[in-house]
Amino acid sequence: MRSTEDRILGVLRWAVITVAVVVTAGPLLYGFLLSLRPFQSVLTEPLDLLPSPGEITFDAYPTAMAEYGLGGNMWNSLQVALATAALAIVLSVLGAYAAVRLRFFGRDVVNVVFLGVYLLPGIVLAVPLFVLLSRIGLTGSLAGLVFVYVAQTVPVALYMLRTYLVAVPSSVEEAAMIDGCGRLAVIRRVVLPMALPGVAATALYVFMIAWNEYLFALLFLVADRDRWTVSLGIAQLTEFSVPTTVLMAGSIAITVPVVAGFFLAQRLLVTGLTSGAEKG
């Protein structure tokens, strides 16, 4: 027999689950449904969530991409995010390998510096970076942005990769070194392939951070519309009287790569790491 306590908790449990699902997934669904309706009908009938069959339109998407320039902005974001992920991975694979496998002078100092960078407020670093980049003429350049993003993400990437690299058995590496591999060749031919799922997940994580970033894009690029990233582009559009359906279309468009990447990474993360690499 179930006690009163159990029954109340059972009801409460499902209430929490229902509210959680509605509140978390609801807004995204709302944005998507709004992006399919004509702006006029959104204004007059805010409570009609489901678009009536006759009024469904995908016009907001091409309007957002072409007329309001979000397509070009997305291209900029893609370049920045890919470059950031590639650079951050190269740097952090080397760094994480050293941190896991090698004893070297200054290792603890390096760890402290990285932790410090991780905790420093972005807005505080933004002040001198803004000054420095305008002094050397890198404001308005996507390359400057990439370096800032790499510096911001590399400590986290390194930390993530460390846990994956620890799982690579060092005996395999030692065998490769006895066979005449140098340090870099060991990393490239032995460590990297064995830690590949982890490396891919970390790369996706860095990509997502760079793709979502707003503050530095705002500070460095705001004057140069051709170089806006897509986050900046949408945020700037909200300042003008752009139809909300177009803004919703833009928001959904920038969310799709992130959500796709997230589900991809989830599957990658569960793939077995090193099973069977070492003969017993």
Binding site: L132, V154, F262
Partner: protein
């Protein structure tokens, strides 16, 4: 003369430093050096227009910036807002994360999908999230106000993001601040949910079973068995969330622009830098802000140390 072959440990030392060097270079150039520059700028009288003519040998040091910021009521009001915002949103995120983690603790069909859906706010690009919420809360055509006025009997739509305060019965509610706190809870509780779920998975089941056999109800099991085990991860989350919310710029700037009593320190740094073009006071504000964060980190480190001793 041929170089002496390196010993194993000397080679390890050299390789280690070489491998970390590129990362260190980027971090030094784009994070450590800029931070030192903040300290420098905080003691200089510089504005954005001075930058092209700024040379290291002509610097004049002053404590005026720090004095100006320290004596400004606006700074202290922003500091109070920031502490309120960070404390309320991290406490909220942890409580909501805990509730959802407990509700999803035992398996049922569809749990995997619900777990993934619950993470949506955390992975959503911040600009997409704020744009959607600004639409939801819009006084003209937003869903929240439409539901409120049509079904809940509100006399008029509420401008959630611009109203500084509003009397509800005997209470005065800071509407905009509460709204940005609620948004932050919504956006960050999935992280608390993930941490707490991971910790719940390693809670040994046998003690709980024994307690239940002895007649302890679920509520008592929670207070006396589960909560003590979760306390550590919740304390860590509280510190991390506080540090992050304390420095949050994006969410508040995108939602309210700092209007309606939501001006936090990060927004103040930005407006000193961009609107007033005063690098000196922007840096001084940032420096004091970093000092406050360091106090929090130090207190946490001290607590950890005391617990271990």
């Amino acid at each position: 003369m041929a170089a002496k072959p390196l010993t194993m440990s000397r080679r390890e030392d050299r390789d280690g430093r070489l491998l970390v060097a590129p990362t260190m270079a980027v971090v030094l150039a784009f994070a450590v050096l800029p931070f030192l520059a903040v300290v420098l700028f905080a003691f200089l009288d510089v504005r954005l227009v001075d930058i092209p003519r700024l040379y290291l040998d002509e610097l004049v040091f002053t404590t005026d910036n720090l004095a100006t910021v320290w004596g400004s009521p606006r700074f202290w009001s922003a500091a109070t807002t920031t502490v309120t915002y960070a404390a309320a949103s991290s406490a909220g995120a942890i409580l909501v994360g805990l509730a959802v983690a407990l509700a999803l603790r035992h398996p049922f069909p569809g749990r995997g999908l619900i777990r993934a859906l619950v993470l949506v706010p955390y992975i959503l690009p911040v600009v997409a999230a704020t744009t959607i919420w600004k639409t939801l809360l819009n006084p003209g055509y937003g869903l929240v106000n439409a539901v409120g006025t049509e079904w809940l009997g509100w006399a008029e739509p509420i401008a959630f993001l611009t109203t500084t305060s509003r009397d509800v019965g005997p209470f005065e509610i800071p509407v905009a601040l509460t709204t940005v706190i609620a948004f932050e809870v919504w956006k960050t509780f999935p992280l608390a949910f993930l941490f707490i779920t991971a910790r719940l998975q390693v809670v040994p089941g046998d003690i709980e079973e024994a307690a239940q056999i002895d007649g302890a109800g679920k509520t008592r099991v929670f207070w006396h068995l589960l909560l003590p085990q979760l306390a550590g991860v919740m304390a860590l989350l509280a510190v991390l969330r506080f540090l992050w919310s304390f420095q949050n710029f994006n969410d508040i700037y995108l939602l309210t622009g700092g209007a309606g009593g939501t001006e936090v320190l990060a927004v103040r740094v930005y407006s000193e830098l961009v609107v007033r073009a005063n690098i000196g006071t922007a840096s001084a504000t940032g420096l004091i802000m970093t000092g406050m964060l360091l106090v929090v980190v130090a207190v946490y480190a001290w607590m950890i140390k005391r617990e271990k001793a």
